[in-house]
């Protein structure tokens, strides 16, 4: 592939993101759910934590000892905001592919010389705007509702963590997309993986409370590091240097998972081209 091809594919990538963003904008009702859920979901857990903690100092101290922060609301809001972003990423590439398949446009795209990665990740990247929106809503809710302020420096560090984690997470999304191309449907699998992430990755609790075997599972999953590091930089004032070990693991997972995703997608595309499955749904 020539340098000109790479440049052309990058432009195609931008066009795919723009196209998806334009379509999203034409359904403004969906914006409401992106305001309601980032507040309502963690809020329920905040009230639950308050009820279980009973407002006692020793329970608050136990929470701080296990999590490294006193901010129960911040801990939960960041955990659930990350969960919602993860959901978008996990669904993103697979959903993009499935939508094109159902719409009937997948073959038209595959008739062009553009890289297959364009159709996989272009639309998903446009959904980063929704992710940014979720974090903004969460930041405002924490500030107004609980007096927790996240400064620009903390936000910038969080962006750094997100960027390091993104390849691993998008690669998982791409693996789902490969399954979509192979089997046509992937919702139950995505639900299962999302359930696993919720159960062990520490969305609403520190993973130290899990049994040893579950902690081992958690430490093999990228979201665990992402959530922990976001909390560290946003709530505990950690600099990126403090979480460099975690970030290195995330980056390594990103390389391995990306290679795996590219291999899996190429295999399934070949299978689809042999069986004529591109237009089938």
């Amino acid at each position: 592939m020539s340098l000109a091809d790479v440049g052309a594919d990058l432009r195609a990538f931008g066009a795919a993101s723009r196209k998806e963003w334009r379509i999203l904008r034409r359904y403004p009702g969906s914006l409401l759910s992106f305001i309601f859920w980032p507040i309502a979901l963690p809020l329920a857990f905040v009230f639950q934590a308050q009820a279980f903690g009973g407002g006692r100092e020793d329970t608050a101290a136990a929470f701080a000892a296990r999590t490294g922060t006193n901010e129960v609301a911040g801990f939960l809001f960041i955990g659930w905001a990350t969960y919602m972003w993860l959901s978008i990423i996990l669904w993103g590439p697979g959903t993009a592919l499935r939508t094109e398949q159902i719409r009937g446009s997948l073959e038209a795209i595959f008739l062009t010389p553009a890289s297959r990665l364009v159709v996989l990740f272009g639309p998903a990247v446009s959904q980063l705007a929704w992710a940014a929106w979720i974090f903004v809503v969460v930041g405002v809710a924490l500030w107004i509702g609980f007096g927790v302020t996240i400064g620009p420096l903390e936000a910038l560090r969080a962006v750094g963590v997100v960027l390091v984690a993104a390849p691993a997470l998008y690669a998982i999304g791409a693996l789902f997309a490969a399954i979509v191309l192979r089997f046509g449907e992937v919702s139950s699998l995505v639900q299962g993986v999302r359930g696993l992430f919720t159960a062990v990755c520490g969305m609403s609790f520190p993973i130290v409370v899990l049994p040893d075997w579950a902690q081992t599972v958690a430490l093999s999953l990228p979201p665990t590091y992402l959530i922990a590091d976001l909390r560290s930089v946003m709530l505990a004032g950690a600099e990126l240097g403090h979480v460099i070990g975690d970030l290195s693991i995330l980056a390594g997972m990103g390389v391995v998972l990306t290679l795996l995703a590219i291999f899996a997608f190429r295999r399934t595309e070949l299978h689809a081209r042999r069986g004529g499955k591109l237009a089938q749904y």
């Binding site: 066009a15 379509i23 038209a108 008739l111 004529g276």
Partner: protein, 264 residues
């Protein structure tokens, strides 16, 4: 004259029925039957020619088109399209190929015609400096300029089909594959589209099309291959096909239509 498409023994098999995941996990023997959709097709299409593939439903027309469009991998046989091997040079073929295979459903209905074309221009690697002018020109040619900024969902079937053809013209293709391009169009829209195909030939482009309409094939095609059960059963100019039937059946002075040839 150079060759746009050269296919030798092009064959495509599909599995009939399905094999469940459970059967795969248990490693049960694969009992699916094989169905041969295209059976050793040889094609030689010259540059600048309008070549038609005629045949009943299930004859293998669309499968042949999809293979030549690089969407399907042949089970056997070889083909070069625009000088590139069908399997190893698929991406090079796609750079210079326009295709109308999937109809109006393949457009984005919540985008305008212009936005649809902008998106696909990027996918076709049209240089950014040329994109705007090329879209304006194509919209003009396809008589869509006055509706360029309307959502596609507001278009009639004929307008959507014209937009699909407009999209296929974005890469300034040397070769156009048109799979039943006038199906579902009203007579006027179908006539417009046929005129456009003839213009494309006059511009020196090669067109390979499938159709059910004899009159359309007669009017548009320089040569026609009639396919049945995945094989080419007759190949000649429309006049040549009619002449051979005329001679074979001894019709005397009675005129023979392409429909007679097809049914024969």
């Amino acid at each position: 004259m150079s060759v746009a498409i050269e296919a030798i023994g092009l064959t495509k098999d599909f599995e009939k029925g399905r094999r469940t995941t459970w059967q795969r996990l248990r490693r049960e023997p694969d009992r699916r039957e094989t169905f041969r959709a295209v059976d050793g097709v040889d094609l030689h299409v010259e540059t600048g020619e309008v070549f038609g593939i005629l045949g009943p439903n299930g004859a293998g027309k669309t499968t042949t088109m999809r293979m030549l469009a690089t969407l399907l991998e042949p089970t056997a046989g070889t083909a070069t399209v625009l000088g590139h091997d069908l399997v190893t040079g698929a991406r090079d073929i796609r750079r210079r190929l326009g295709a109308v295979l999937s109809g109006e459903r393949s457009l984005y209905w919540k985008l305008t015609a212009r936005e649809n074309l902008e998106y696909f221009a990027a996918l076709y690697h049209v240089p950014p400096g040329e994109t705007r002018a090329r879209i304006v020109e194509i919209l003009e040619v396809m008589h869509l300029t006055d509706r360029a900024d309307d959502y596609v969902e507001k278009f009639s079937t004929g307008m959507r089909q014209r937009l699909v053809l407009a999209r296929a013209l974005l890469p300034a293709p040397s070769l156009l594959l048109l799979d039943e391009p006038t199906v579902g169009l009203d007579p006027q829209a179908a006539r417009d589209l046929r005129e456009r195909v003839l213009q494309l030939r006059d511009e020196g482009r090669t067109v390979l099309l499938t159709t059910h309409y004899m009159e359309e094939a007669d009017q548009l095609c320089d040569r026609i291959a009639i396919v049945d059960h995945g094989r080419i059963v007759a190949l000649d100019t429309p006049e040549g096909l009619k002449r051979s039937l005329h001679a074979r059946n001894g019709h005397g002075t009675l005129p023979v239509s392409l429909e007679d040839v097809f049914i024969s």
